[in-house]
């Protein structure tokens, strides 16, 4: 047994297309600990769906190793791989339920595949329907269920084989905000109460913020940044991470006011329990130079309350330096926002 339940080592995936070779994943190294809720975020086409499919070998990597519980899945025969796959469940954006089976029939499906006796399977499925709060819809067919209900059935189905891991491939992207929230809190409960490891693929930062403790940012088939969600939120190192974490807090503002000084912008991140506003107010009074607040909000990120603010310092370079020094002296954490390179 290894402490990492999932470990991708040097995973590369190339596709042969008519236009030549396309590299979908480049030398991915990723370790996920048991019990984690691990987010993988990227824009469409970044390779995140391919990445999650290498974990259960729905996509065979061109190079590298995929370890599950310390065992190299790529070395397994089909039959043994199928046994391992029962420990790695998956839920999908489009739910992928069997349309010709009712809810309970869908939940029984993985048990049926595993040869569990029918009565036992039905009993288990009924319990799982309770877990996902759908007891009254046992005999409804997917066509009769709403998106959120379908995903609940899919989650119950994913739980049926007593998995160690659930891979969530854009599991809430087809749902409205309210349903998304409910599904995310259900997944969070499953992670916390059952200790099932979650691997969450998404393009939405809100999903990561609500559900994940750790995150990897993927761009052009490479993991450009990874770590604890709260840390990356506070100090994103790469442009890709900033873009994803602050889609409107930073870039939109930059676009809108690109003619004015874009050099003296700071992103201030602070612990939500203390307030830095007086510091900024004091700074304005003390240095007698205005600061423009472009954006401010407060949210829960990976279980921590974080506030962030984008401020525009004085145009005067000297004054801007003074302001930065003032903030630093008063223990305010900030990162400078660089003007985005012209594209």
């Amino acid at each position: 047994m290894s402490e990492h339940i999932i470990s991708l080592q040097g995973v590369t995936k190339e596709f042969d297309t008519k236009g030549g070779k396309v590299v979908a994943l480049k030398d991915i190294n990723l370790d996920i600990e048991a019990g984690d809720s691990y987010g993988i975020i990227g824009l469409s086409g970044a390779g995140k769906s391919t990445l999650v499919r290498t974990i259960n070998l729905l996509e065979q990597p061109t190079e590298g190793k995929v370890l599950f519980d310390g065992e190299n899945l790529m070395a397994l025969k089909n039959k043994d791989l199928n046994l391992k796959r029962r420990k790695i469940s998956m839920i999908f954006q489009q739910f992928n339920l069997l349309m010709q089976r009712d809810a309970i029939g869908n939940i029984c499906f993985p048990l049926e595949l595993a040869g569990v006796p029918k009565e036992e399977a039905i009993k288990k499925a009924q319990e799982l329907l309770k877990v996902v709060d759908l007891e009254d819809r046992a005999h409804s067919y997917p066509a009769q269920l709403s998106g959120g209900q379908k995903q609940r059935v899919a989650i119950a189905r994913a739980l049926a084989s007593n998995p160690e891991v659930i891979l969530c491939d854009e599991a809430t992207s087809a749902l409205d905000p309210k349903t998304t929230k409910a599904i995310l809190s259900l997944l969070k409960k499953i992670n916390e109460e059952r200790g099932i490891t979650l691997v969450v693929i998404t393009h939405e930062m809100d999903v990561i913020k609500q559900l994940c403790k750790k995150v990897a940012v993927i761009e052009n088939g490479e993991i450009v940044e990874s770590g604890k969600v709260a840390e990356i939120f506070a100090h994103p190192k790469t442009q890709a991470a900033r873009k994803l974490f602050f889609p409107d807090g930073e870039n939109k503002e930059l676009e809108g006011s690109s003619k004015t000084s874009t050099k003296h912008r700071l992103r201030v991140v602070y612990d939500g329990r203390s307030a830095y506003d007086p510091t900024i107010a004091n700074m304005i009074m003390e240095l007698k130079a205005p600061v423009n607040i472009l954006y401010a909000n407060m949210e829960v990120v990976g279980d921590e309350q974080k506030g962030q603010m984008v401020i525009c310092l004085a145009d005067n370079k000297e004054m801007a330096e003074k302001q930065k020094k003032y903030l630093a002296d008063h223990g305010v954490e900030f990162t400078e926002i660089e003007a985005e390179e012209e594209e």
Partner: protein, 220 residues
């Protein structure tokens, strides 16, 4: 010809037609269904791609399908005679129908299975389903309504072929229509057989649609 003779003549023809159509459809499915499944499974996006097999089988299916039924039946006559002792009559026609219909059925099955959402197949794979389980528990069951509609179309096509076989002594309603309607110039008898054939087609189509809809859980 008095009414009683005519009735018994038509009744016999109807039974022969039903017999030929039913047996030929059944056996054509026994052969065509596995071929259709194998074409999907081994296709480029199948669960077990096998390019060479897929191309060769697809080619054979296309060749048999491109030969008009009447010509195929005549071409097959000597072989069928060798096999079952006669080249004409209902048994010989049934044998020829099977050869003609099996590739047609294979393509119908292939089309139906193509409609199964690839996402559902992927989900089954992620659950550790074997390829056999995917075929029996996902592909065939999810495509059930479409397969049943296809079966009605296949049955009707085979019925039509069986009537064609009448022109070369194949037995059944087609045979009666040609013998009495064409050779003896009794258009009434011909029209009666045509009407019976139309009713048969309607009934088969209706049954196909009704059963398919009844067994389709996507709509209700």
């Amino acid at each position: 010809m008095d009414a009683a003779t005519l009735a018994s003549l038509l009744w016999e023809g109807l039974l022969q037609t039903l017999y030929m159509t039913l047996i030929a459809t059944l056996v054509a499915y026994l052969i065509g269904l596995p071929i259709g499944v194998s074409l999907i499974v081994t296709g480029p996006n199948g669960i077990r791609p096998a390019g060479v097999y897929n191309k060769v089988m697809g080619f054979i299916v296309n060749i048999v399908r491109s030969v008009p039924f009447l010509i195929l039946m005549i071409a097959l006559m000597p072989y069928i005679r060798k096999l079952i002792g006669t080249g004409i009559g209902t048994s010989a026609t049934t044998a020829a129908l099977i050869v003609a219909a099996a590739p047609f059925v294979a393509r119908m099955v292939e089309q139906s299975l193509l409609e199964v959402d690839p996402g559902v197949i992927e989900a089954a794979q992620a659950m550790g389903a074997s390829n056999m389980q995917i075929v029996t528990k996902v592909l065939l069951l999810e495509a059930r309504p479409s397969l049943l509609n296809g079966a009605a179309v296949a049955g009707i096509t085979i019925l039509g072929y069986s009537a064609m076989a009448g022109s070369i002594g194949g037995g059944g309603l087609g045979d009666i229509a040609i013998r009495y309607g064409l050779y003896r110039f009794q258009p009434t008898i011909m029209w009666i057989t045509v009407i019976v054939l139309i009713v048969l087609v309607q009934v088969m189509q209706e049954i196909g649609i009704k059963v398919a809809a009844k067994l389709d859980n996507r709509i209700n």
